[in-house]
């Protein structure tokens, strides 16, 4: 397809682990249509131009979290990023930063999947409820206290934007800590202490140097940076308490 007004060029990362030693860029021209997203452009390539291009996608409505990629260097959900916003192009489409590249635009997020259970992202109770007899009451205000942190779709854009995670893969990372905060702030949960024990470690909240980019790139306005700073306050209070008070009073 000739490059003209109605098309836009995508510069797409290609990497085949069984052949290539390094990722390379490949150029594709795709129709520039007002309603097309970057993902539509990639699907056009996959269907009509080069069937070997690999990328993840599913819901195409910004909720499943599969299709995160770097678009012109910024982590984006490609199903919610429109080609026309980048006209006349070219548009650089690369795998998310800070993750190992498995293939083309597909990155390995196994590290996050291993980290997630460490912050105990589930309701922890003091009481041992076995028989369910009605709901735990929770007022709209109590719901509001954690609601925003429950909006994380695990799309990994925040990890791609976080230089700390890039430099130190041991760092727990924005989404996992935001989820810990989500459960801590839930009025039904009693597990804050347990989670703090994990996050007070160096790889926990103290790894964060507050770049703040995780919050900037979050497509669901979760504000992981805020969650981490609030955790730091909690952790600092605990440290002071441990230093000042005798053990039995803590």
């Amino acid at each position: 397809m000739a490059s003209n007004e109605d098309s836009i060029r995508l510069e797409v990362t290609r990497y085949r682990p069984d052949g290539d030693s390094e990722p390379q860029l490949q150029e594709y021209d795709v129709p520039l249509r007002r309603e097309w997203t970057v993902l539509d452009g990639l699907n056009h390539v996959k269907d009509e131009v080069d069937t070997t291009l690999s990328f993840r996608w599913s819901c195409r409505m910004g909720i499943c979290g599969s299709c995160g990629m770097n678009v012109d260097g910024e982590p984006k959900l490609t199903c919610a990023t429109f080609l026309s916003d980048y006209a006349p192009g070219p548009i650089r489409v690369e795998p998310l930063s800070n993750f190992p590249i498995i293939r083309d635009l597909v990155v390995d997020i196994d590290d996050f999947m291993q980290k997630l259970p460490k912050v105990s992202p589930w309701i922890i109770r003091d009481d041992d409820v076995t028989e369910i007899d009605g709901e735990y009451l929770q007022t709209p205000e109590e719901l509001d206290a954690y609601k925003q942190f429950s909006m994380c779709i695990n799309c990994m854009l925040c990890y791609a934007a976080c230089p700390v995670y890039g430099l130190d893969p041991e760092f727990m990372g924005p989404a996992a800590i935001a989820l810990a905060e989500r459960y801590d702030l839930d009025s039904r949960d009693h597990g804050a202490r347990e989670r703090l024990d994990v996050l007070i470690e160096h790889e926990g909240v103290w790894g964060c140097t507050f770049v703040g980019e995780c919050t900037t790139v979050c497509p669901k306005h979760v504000d992981p940076a805020g969650a981490i700073q609030r955790y730091k306050l909690k952790a600092a209070k605990e440290n002071v308490k441990a230093f000042v008070l005798p053990r039995f009073l803590q």
């Binding site: 085949r16 682990p17 069984d18 052949g19 309603e35 996959k46 269907d47 009509e48 069937t51 070997t52 690999s54 990328f55 993840r56 996608w57 599913s58 819901c59 195409r60 409505m61 910004g62 909720i63 499943c64 979290g65 599969s66 919610a80 498995i102 293939r103 083309d104 597909v106 390995d108 997020i109 999947m113 997630l116 259970p117 105990s120 992202p121 589930w122 309701i123 409820v129 369910i132 009605g134 709901e135 735990y136 009451l137 929770q138 007022t139 709209p140 109590e142 719901l143 954690y146 609601k147 429950s150 909006m151 994380c152 779709i153 695990n154 989820l179 459960y183 839930d186 039904r188 949960d189």
Partner: protein
């Protein structure tokens, strides 16, 4: 045992990590912690299509509501094709399942006093739909996924695509799957297998369904000899965004939204759905059932009262009178989706909508415990047909269905696995066959001049023409012929991708094979049902015919690959078939 052929052995293996699959996994872990249970899924569990469900989950909890009313609404909604014993079990168990999810942390929207809030929904006579704003499925899925992480004994195989069920004549013994990451093709054996792979909306061109909804579980069961039930019943949701097909939840209408044609007229009043009222009236007008609303749209098109768009005729959904506050608290996702994908703000502008394929009432035939006729094989969620949805599902019944029957299938599969004998040796040969088929016949296969995208496009166009909102016998028969041709042509599709790792081209070829099978089942079943009921409307047989067709249709696969349709009675307990009345 040949090297690496069998990757692992489990007691229960669940295929699919959405609401039904995860609920099953937890049910098993809770029933018997000694059982070895695993979830195998072609995507990470939190990517499953449950995530896209918006409006809510029905369960009787309000003081003025009753179990019998929810049962009756579901039965009449199903046009009396739902099995009443299954519906009774479902309605009875749904509230407890929803409360359980509340205990696991689901952020249900609340009333001021802290109790769970409920909203009205289409075809329901009382307010009984629990909701988490308009991201109910998202919150339910993430709550289930995160809760499952607590059960360390539940093993997970993420991003593994199952290509075949291993089985002998009596029972199932496991699966063969391709690990997308490594490209390795290996068997995972199990004493019981639960299919929970969701729906098959991608058989159609215009659908609310995600890319992953290719009916894999239905295809697996069908090829293993288990029948598919009531496949002709395809639900069109009346309000999808043009072009993308993104769902605009029924909750928009439950909160008071109006459907208007190009003259600004609330056209549903012309279709025996009641009289327009300023505030929503239950089981009336915009809160009628989905089948009737989608059918009304077609009549509006015929009358020339719709608006033309580049993507066909549309009507409009009017939320402007609801105000920004209500929209932001109860329908924030709808506003977000409209702003993003239509560049309009529903607070001030009309939302263009058209009916869009949304849900499969049919699926793998199971009994009330999720058991299929093949020993050790279970199914739950949209993959399965129990059936509680009959000829038309009511909005907000599918999420609790995943929970109730996911848990039931889990417990039944656990029970089966405890008493099942060991895996016979012959299974290994079957696994080896499948590995050979994939390695030799598919990987790096030369093209015979056919393109996968073209065949998929033709399948989808054929399905839309032959199995749309209104159908005729000749159209369906012609559609079946076209699909047979496509079955031949798919043999000439090449796979240019020779990489092992993340070979999504190979994946798409296997998915397309499933979709062709399912498309054929839908048409064959539809051709044989010579009546109009619920979502199956035939212009050549416009009336419901209880005499001949108050029955389920089961599609079996012949050895030559063609479908064979048999029938089975509908279970009636307390509610004899009656007229479906809305709005009066």
């Amino acid at each position: 045992m040949s090297e690496g052929l069998i990757r692992a052995a489990h007691d229960v293996l669940i295929v699919g990590g959405g609401a039904a699959g995860l609920r099953a996994a937890i049910a098993i872990a809770e029933t018997d912690p000694d059982l070895d249970v695993a979830v195998i899924s072609k995507v990470y569990p939190m990517r499953s299509h449950t995530v896209s469900a918006e409006g809510g989950a029905a369960g009787v909890i309000a003081d003025d509501d009753s179990i019998d009313e929810h049962i009756y609404d579901t039965i009449s909604g199903s046009d009396w094709l739902g099995d009443q014993d299954a519906i009774e079990a479902f309605v009875n168990e749904a509230p407890r399942e929803l409360l359980q999810l509340e205990h696991w942390g689901c952020p249900w929207s609340r009333q001021d006093d802290g109790r769970v809030a409920v909203r009205p929904f289409g075809g329901m006579k009382k307010k009984r739909t629990w909701f988490a704003a308009d991201k109910t499925g998202f919150h339910m899925l993430h709550t289930l996924f995160q809760t499952t992480l607590k059960y360390r004994e539940v093993k997970r195989y993420d991003e593994v695509f199952v290509t075949r069920l291993l089985h002998d004549d009596d029972r199932v013994h496991g699966v063969v799957g391709i690990g997308l990451y490594s490209g390795k093709i290996q068997a995972v054996t199990a004493k019981a297998v639960i299919l929970a792979t969701g729906g098959c909306g991608k058989v159609f061109p215009f659908t609310t369904n995600a890319n992953i909804n290719t009916g894999d579980g239905m295809g697996l069961a069908y090829r293993a000899g288990a029948p598919l039930k009531d496949m002709e019943f395809v639900q069109y949701h009346p309000t999808g965004l043009p072009f993308t097909g993104i769902l605009i939840t029924e909750a928009t209408r439950a909160e008071g939204g109006w459907l208007i044609n190009k003259d600004g007229y609330r056209y549903l009043q012309d279709y025996d759905l009641g009289k327009p009222t300023p505030t929503p009236e239950l089981r009336s007008m915009e809160l009628g059932p989905r089948d009737r609303l989608s059918q009304a749209f077609v009549h509006e098109v015929e009358k020339g009262r719709t608006t033309d768009s580049p993507w066909g005729p549309i009507v409009h959904l009017d939320l402007r009178h609801l105000g920004a506050d209500l929209i932001d608290t109860k329908l924030p996702f709808v506003r977000e989706l409209c702003l993003k994908y239509e560049r309009i703000d529903p607070v001030h502008e009309l939302i263009p909508v058209r009916p869009v394929v949304h849900y499969m009432m049919g699926g793998v035939h199971t009994d009330i415990d999720g058991a299929t006729p093949l020993g050790g094989l279970y199914a739950a969620g949209e993959t399965a047909c129990v059936s509680i949805n009959g000829a038309n599902r009511l909005g907000s019944n599918s999420l609790p269905e995943c929970l109730v029957f996911g848990a039931r299938a889990g417990r039944a599969a656990a029970e089966f696995a405890r008493s099942a004998g060991p895996t016979p040796g012959v299974i290994e040969a079957q696994a080896a066959d499948e590995v050979r088929r994939l390695e030799r016949d598919l990987l790096g296969k030369e093209s015979g001049g056919e393109s996968m995208a073209a065949i998929r496009g033709e399948l989808q166009a054929t399905m839309e023409d032959a199995a749309g909102i209104y159908r005729t016998g000749p159209e369906m028969a012609k559609g079946i012929d076209t699909l047979r041709e496509l079955q031949q042509r798919i043999g000439r599709v090449g796979i240019a991708d020779t990489s092992r790792s993340f070979n999504t081209e190979l994946l798409a070829a296997l998915e397309l094979a499933n979709m062709l099978d399912i498309g054929e089942c839908i048409l064959q079943s539809g051709l044989q049902r010579e009546e109009s009921r619920g979502a199956h409307q035939r212009t050549d047989f416009p009336d419901r015919d209880d005499e001949q067709f108050l029955k389920h249709q089961l599609v079996y696969r012949h050895r030559d690959g063609t479908p064979r349709v048999e029938s089975m009675p509908v279970t009636i307990t307390r509610w004899p078939p009656g007229e479906r009345v809305y709005g009066r």
